[in-house]
Symmetry: C2
Subunit: 491 residues, 2 copies
């Protein structure tokens, strides 16, 4: 009886999270500014409610009962996921959850106008109290899980990983990347870009063509515009977003391809488990693995670009003189350059952006770095890793990402774990189906979609990350395939 | 302490309702079809949760305690509203609420494609089980409130009104309207309509111009498209919708003006009480009173039309030859015609549509009319009241409205109570400020907005309907000002 009660409870929680997902998407895409305060309050209240449903003392008892029950394999995995969530949530007091949610909503919303204004001083009075709350949360979570506060934050996104395991992986990248970066920058040289303007409406059409060929199911999802692109909604109704720059359609197009990778994962989670923790995506690194596989392995390949090139010519050809071919496009999308903005960074320099954030987050959460000193610390690491100065340029420095203004700490490492995941999965998919690249040149992603559905997407959280990668590829996650991929593409 | 606990509880419920409002708006405007089933399930689950928070046995105890406490006038009114909600909700068992919510979502969603297909046979298997659930709800509610089941449904929307009180008012209309209808139809004769097409984007621009001049606050709301226009969202973020017919912009424009009336009410509810029942709008009839005041008293007046006419010429003039003047427009918007569709009916025949539904609902809820016999009963009353046949034409007959497919019964009378409210409020506003019509001809609605804010909107649910109308106009709601208005405009 314990398991049944848990399943009912988590179905209820899933329904609340469904509405919160819709409201979150709405906030980013549709909501007028004046709605922010009351939306923030409502989200905070409902967040507390969901929190109370998990932390209800009965849940602990039901978990103990369920452990003694005769469960199927999927039910057992579900119980494992439920217990993990329960341990996380019971570690943080409700009033702290509520206060943090309110502060996140306020700070995150203000950031949308303060970032373009480069207004660090205006941001600080909202950001400092948020960080104070995030530190309290990390402390409480660490106490509950019996680990270091920042390890506890990482565990929310990457169960099984720690600061030291990540630092070890990142050490390999810090060692190998500088050589690849220098070589790739040199090799990149000058490219000739197609000249805009590229009207937003046409960019949207082209994005939707790409989405369709990548398998996106428009009966269960849509594409919209937001300040910071994301994949939201729910598995049966996946909402991806992009933003358009009328001078450069490629960034938005590749962003759409990226989010489509996330979306395909969500749209193919196991139908009968969607309302339970075991039916959710396996974690942030694996999620990012899907989006980066779509973006970097597929979207940046000469094969898929040779399919897209005539579509681009159809869409923009009349307004832009350009040699619409894979030969012209591939050097553009694979151009490597040391730059300020993580989200538009190439796959070679990207890990350096992540390592910077990872190292700063360790200091911010431990308290060894004060909030007001972040810009200076940022600038110093940016100089060291990419040779760029961000002095006084907050909008392209520490205010560039949505994550910190929304209080999301411990999440950045997942981007690079995701890049490693993408390389490792794609390597194995090619081993199983060497014809995949040729199919991509015809705009046919069905073989790849099928392989990913069978080996990753349909598994939800049935396996742990280590199990999933081992079953799918024969080995645990490693940086080797990612570094091999970079060397083969850029050296 | 009882009152404080109640206020906290209802704040929490308000937050859930906030997210449900957003999800409801999204469902009608944004959601792809494939998302309907899981959305319906989530809404049902969360609806049950909100229901449980009201029906929690503690709430009854807190109410009794609060009655003995020293409360302010607003708190006392809040307690009255809380008790009323509590009585309604405790009368209906949770499982019935959940089953009804699922059936409403399914039937309501299917209706969107079945109505255009005129598919009554496809609709019936979804509609019959819904009605069965609605009857059970009405029975349970009637038992709880100690009244007839249909009276109980009416009480949800119009506290204080009953079948017999409404039938008495409607009897006056049934007596007086036929003469006015015949005279108005005769007087209407042929009008020359502006020729389309009127592009949707331009219609939207014109609608937004009208909204702005009617005081709509775009920092706290927006305009979108849905199959059936409505006013949703929350007071700080009011979402109104319309639909566009490229051959006829006037219907959509007047619809937008109508929903703007609803929106102004929501946007001006008392700030400090928004999260409590006393801070909500006074009821459906009063709400409809605001929208009909905006649509019929303002939007259809020669004064406001003389302001809008040049805006229309600016918007459509180049593509349409027409004498853009109040003289040409007034006979169009005030044209009276016996027609099938309630939502596009003129203000003179509209009450006959409502009376038809009111009389059928009485029979449907009592069970004296079987669901499958509704089309025949509809046709017979339509013949009697407006001389029109709807045989085999379900889409223009009993399938025309969203209300029944979504299980909303007891609501239709509010439309005509609203028309009476609009006439009575506007009559008094003109008495206080005879210069209002002249201001309208300049597109200036500030005097009217101020009068309504002070006398109606800012009161929320502080007063009962009778009290509100008496304080605002010196008399309880009556059909006299409405009939006077129709006689003065049409005879």
């Amino acid at each position: 009886m314990g398991y049944k009660l848990l399943a009912d409870r988590f179905k209820k929680i899933d329904s609340i999270e469904h509405l919160m997902s819709v409201a979150h998407w709405d906030e980013a895409t549709m909501m007028p500014d004046g709605g922010a305060e009351s939306r923030g309050q409502a989200m905070a209240q409902v967040g507390v409610l969901a929190h109370e449903l998990i932390t209800d003392p009965n849940v602990g008892e039901w978990i103990e009962k369920a452990k003694a029950e005769n469960l199927s394999e999927w039910e057992s995995s579900n119980l494992r996921e439920i217990e993990s969530q329960w341990r996380h949530k019971t570690s943080i007091p409700s009033d702290l959850v509520e206060a943090t949610a309110v502060a996140r909503a306020k700070c995150g919303h203000a950031w949308r106008s303060l970032r373009p204004a480069n207004d660090w001083e205006g941001f600080l009075p909202l950001f400092e109290p948020l960080i104070s709350l995030v530190r309290q949360q990390a402390q409480a979570l660490g106490d509950g899980l019996g680990c270091d506060p920042y390890d506890a934050l990482i565990d929310q996104f990457e169960p099984g990983q720690t600061q030291s395991s990540i630092a070890a992986t990142f050490a390999q990248l810090k060692e190998q990347l500088p050589v690849i970066i220098e070589a790739a920058v040199e090799k990149s040289g000058r490219v000739s870009l197609p000249k805009g303007p590229f009207p937003k409406e046409l960019q949207k059409q082209l994005g939707e063509v790409a989405m369709r060929h990548l398998g996106f199911d428009f009966n269960h999802g849509r594409l919209d515009v937001s300040h910071h692109p994301f994949c939201g909604g729910v598995p049966k109704d996946v909402r991806i977003t992009t933003r358009y720059d009328e001078e450069n359609f490629i960034e938005s197009l590749m962003g759409v391809i990226h989010e489509t990778g996330h979306a395909r994962y969500e749209q193919n989670l196991p139908d009968e488990w969607l309302d339970q923790p075991v039916g959710k995506a396996r974690g942030m690194g694996v999620h990012e693995g899907q989006s980066l596989l779509f973006e970097n392995m597929v979207g940046h390949s000469p094969e898929f670009l040779s399919f897209l090139a005539p579509k681009m010519a159809d869409t923009f050809g009349s307004s832009s003189e350009f040699d619409w071919s894979a030969g012209s496009l591939t050097p553009i999308v694979n151009r490597v350059e040391k730059s300020f903005i993580r989200t538009s960074a190439d796959e070679v320099t990207y890990p350096m952006h992540v390592i910077l954030r990872f190292e700063l987050e360790q200091q911010i959460i431990s308290g060894s770095l004060e909030v007001r000193d972040i810009p200076e610390a940022w600038d110093s690491k940016m100089q060291a890793y990419l040779g760029l100065s961000t002095k006084g340029d907050f909008r392209n420095g520490c205010m560039q990402d949505v994550h910190w203004p929304e209080g999301a700490f411990g999440y950045f490492p997942s981007y690079t774990l995701g890049a490693m995941t993408a390389a490792q999965l794609y390597e194995k998919a090619l081993l199983d189906h060497p014809e995949i690249p040729e199919k991509l040149s015809q705009g046919d992603t069905s073989l790849l979609n099928t392989w990913l559905r069978e080996n990753v997407w349909s598994k939800g959280s049935f396996y742990t990350v280590d199990e999933l990668m081992t079953v799918a590829t024969g080995a645990k996650l490693s940086s080797r395939p990612f570094i091999d991929h970079l060397k083969s593409r850029y050296l």
